[in-house]
Amino acid sequence: MTAPSDFETANAPTWCPGCGNFGMWKALKAAYSEVDLSLDKLAVVWGIGCHGNGADFTRAQGFHALHGRALPVATGLALSNPELTVVVEMGDGDGYGIGLGHFAHSCRRNIDLAVIGHDNQIYGLTTGQASPTTDQHMATVSTPSGVLERPVNTIGLAVAEGATFVARGFSGDVEHLTGLIKEAITHRGFAVVDVFQPCVTWNKLNTAAWFRERVYELEESGWDATDKAAALKLSLTTYHELTCAPDECRLPIGVIYREEGLPTYADGLPQLVGPLWKQAREPRDVSAIMESLG
């Protein structure tokens, strides 16, 4: 039985005091320990951003990948060894900005990954530029006249593109978030938990207090997470606008969509019978294949 602290290295987190990443970090460790993952078999892949600094703090089989490319690395890893549990942590700029193509295509793939989005609606590590989930009209150093684009509808995109588990969490509610992460890890297939993760340094709008006034738990409202059309409709209320008032602007957290029992990507690969390193212990006999050429 692993304890949350088993997943900590000796490096103390360097996130800004009050950063939402602390809540997520707590929830992640709790989830790992409650699911009782083995340290050796838990592989975590990070993109680049403040969230990615977690690679230095997390004791696991870690891969700190490139900005926006955690998903393909994780996909290669998961397919190379089906015995691993592979978790992806990505940022909003990272996963829904530069990496959005991989995200959308991964949703279609139902690969067995748990994808945790650190969605602080800002580029933290590069000092506060607009991210793809920054509210429209918000001014940042890269958009001083306000963001002209609508934010990415992460939930809608994930549902529309076929992800089989789509949830929204809030770093300020660690217990609820722990539950979502556990579900994502144990879900067979592509599971996304997009997490409101306030950045206290650069995003002065979407603060923990701001969210606390607005989030509500879907579980309590009797939400039917199996209705895809309803999930898509709900996705239109899962992102918000600059001016959204607490009473008009209710942001659901919880499991928004869930589709169980579908084959995973690996299920479609009968040749994937175990870790692929076993294929390369000695030369493969290709005489038949070679002889067919001619």
């Binding site: 050796d40 230095d56 890893l77 397919l79 294929q279």
Partner: protein
């Protein structure tokens, strides 16, 4: 017109089939080559096609000889014109005394009138098909039959080939094809053209392969224990994806057609982390998108193999043609500095060997290895001796796949912590796969310390130690990589010494056959491993040469620049080509003759 260097006693013969894109010209040519190879002859194919599915012009050449062949040649001995455009484009290529097979329904006989020196044989292909009770698509088969008939080569080889092709799927169709082939054979054999070369099957033909470069690379990779292949289609690498996909089940390989090349490269890095032997391949344009992930492989010390098969650039360029213009690009791709190995196969046998070796090198060095090919290698088939499968070895270097890491004290810190990036004299640390008990790690794109932690990597001493560790692998690489290969006479005895890399090898070897026959002594050095560069061997070659020539398929003289840089030596006669066409042996032959002719002042 320059003289045909093959000379009057030549043993080889080249057949060209031309027609509209999308009408199976390539398949027909390949079938023809197969008939010859099954008869024990050697073949070398050349395909020419535009980047269009239809509406353009395709041509396929088969060069055939009882002797070993290294390349195509320019002249055509038998031209098969399935449409008028073939005549318009290629009639000039037909040698005097050559034969033209044409369909009078599609080709205007008036357009042939200038060539009174050829044997023009009209075969109404559609009529042949109809008479034999075949389907309209069998027109090409009629043409193939006609070619064999014209040459007096036994029809049975074509019959066997057609039966083998269709037998499983549709035996009825096979027999229709056979009948059509017989019809074409019969018509053309009556034409009575005579050839200087008479092709006969050998009584006891040796078993040979008929492979293109991508197939050779594919077999090499599978033999090496490839576990995952990721790619996004791009000419001329696409057929390697098709090859891998076709064998995913029987070989047990995970093959992923990814959303783009970025994903392909990063997925391969992820798969390598997991312990798979992993490979991706693309053309230069796709590699442009892989550059960042290629650097990730370098920084994270990932054992990956990357195929880069050059077509003419820049940008989309000329998708279906060939060039050798990505050498410096692959050498310097990605920000920062890290060790890499670049192997450049010159032919299909090289391609097989260098590919399986690439996997060993990647594992031994824990760094990316590039197989640098081109369209001339990828697309064209060559008859070769069966690959030496017995020679294949799997050496995974310092890899721990299972069991507890504590059994590998050399990989641990004093306190027993596993250190993924532990400093080592040869630069290579012990690599434990995820899942190995107790071997926790951070594989990192950031600079890092021995464990893999990023924040610690910013210390100047740590950085320098890790850079030196990584870069020292190039020294180890120097002792592991395949050396340059010498062909012909030693340079000290040669009238001219030629340096090449990649597929220029073939046309130069062909030209050497002709030059040697005439008494010209030629030395050729093929730079097989382009990086790390074999500076000593190349310098020695140059220093012991009378005069040097360098033949490379690019504008800038990329290998030449590398020789200047690494050997501080210049080349007397650099030869370039960048029109998308491969070097012909004739170009090399005549250039050498020009250089050596008595009245050419250097």
């Amino acid at each position: 017109m320059l003289a045909d260097p093959r000379g009057p006693d030549r043993q080889d013969l080249q057949i060209k089939i031309g027609g509209e894109a999308g009408y199976g010209i390539k398949a027909a040519g390949q079938t023809l080559a197969r008939c010859f190879v099954h008869g024990g002859l050697h073949t070398f194919d050349l395909t020419e096609y535009p980047s269009l599915i239809r509406g353009g012009h395709n041509a396929y050449q088969v060069r055939v000889s009882p002797d070993e062949l290294y390349s195509h040649v320019l002249p055509v001995d038998v031209l098969v014109a399935l449409n008028q455009e073939t005549v318009t484009r290629h009639l000039d290529e037909l040698v005097g005394g050559g034969a033209l097979l044409f369909d009078p329904e599609n080709v205007d006989e008036g357009s042939l009138s200038a060539r009174t020196d050829i044997c023009a044989v009209a075969v109404p292909f559609d009529e042949v098909v109809k008479e034999a009770g075949g389907l309209p698509v069998m027109r090409n088969v009629a043409a193939l039959g006609a070619v064999l008939g014209l040459l007096g080569y036994p029809l049975s080889y074509l019959e066997d080939s057609l039966r083998a092709q269709f037998a499983r799927k549709a035996p009825g169709i096979a027999e229709q094809n056979v009948a059509v082939a017989a019809g074409g054979y019969e018509r053309a054999s009556r034409a009575g053209c005579t050839f200087p070369v008479r092709l006969s099957p050998l009584p006891d033909p040796p078993k040979r392969l008929l492979v293109d470069g991508n197939e050779a690379i594919g077999v090499g990779a599978l033999a090496a224990g490839l576990g995952m292949y990721c790619a996004y289609p791009m000419t001329p690498a696409s057929s390697l994806l098709h090859f891998m996909a076709a064998h995913e089940q029987d070989a047990g390989v995970v093959v992923k057609h990814t959303e783009d090349e970025i994903a392909a490269m990063n997925m391969v890095v992820g798969a390598a982390f997991g312990g798979a032997r992993a490979m991706c391949a693309t053309a230069g344009g796709g590699f442009s998108l892989m550059v960042e992930g290629f650097g990730l492989a370098g920084a994270s010390e990932s054992a990956v193999v990357v195929g880069v098969f050059t077509r003419p650039g820049p940008a989309t360029g000329m998708p279906t043609w060939t060039e050798q213009s990505d050498l410096r690009f692959v050498m310097h791709a990605a920000q920062g500095e890290f060790p890499r190995v670049v192997l450049a196969p010159g032919d299909r046998t090289d391609a097989f060997e260098l590919t399986w070796k690439a996997f060993n090198l990647a594992d031994q060095l824990q760094t990316p290895v590039v197989i640098l090919g081109d369209t001339y290698l990828s697309d064209n088939r060559e008859s070769v001796e069966p690959f030496d499968l017995a020679a294949v070895t799997v050496d995974r270097g310092k890899l721990v796949t299972d069991g507890p890491i504590s059994a590998h004290p050399e990989a641990l810190a004093a306190d027993g912590t596993y250190l993924r990036y532990k400093l080592a004299p040869d630069g290579v640390s012990t690599r434990a796969l995820p899942g190995v008990e107790g071997a926790l790690q951070v594989v990192n794109s950031y600079e890092h310390d021995e464990y893999g932690f990023g924040a610690q990597g910013e210390a100047a001493a740590t950085r320098t130690a890790q850079m030196d560790k990584r870069m020292s692998k190039l020294k180890l690489a120097g002792s592991l990589v395949p050396p340059p290969a010498l062909f012909g006479v030693p340079p000290s005895e040669a009238d001219i010494s030629i340096i090449v890399f990649g597929t220029t090898k073939g046309p130069v070897r062909s030209a050497m056959q002709w030059l040697e026959r005439e008494g010209t002594k030629v030395a050729m050095l093929q730079v097989v491993t382009v990086w790390p560069f074999p500076a000593d061997r190349v310098s020695e070659f140059i220093d012991t040469s009378k005069r040097t020539m360098l033949v490379e398929g690019n504008h800038d003289g990329q290998l030449e620049g590398l020789i200047r840089q690494e050997c501080m030596r210049s080349i007397d006669w650099p030869v370039h080509r960048y029109d998308g066409r491969p070097f012909s042996p004739e170009q090399i032959y005549h250039t050498v003759k020009g250089v050596l002719c008595s009245d050419c002042a250097k």
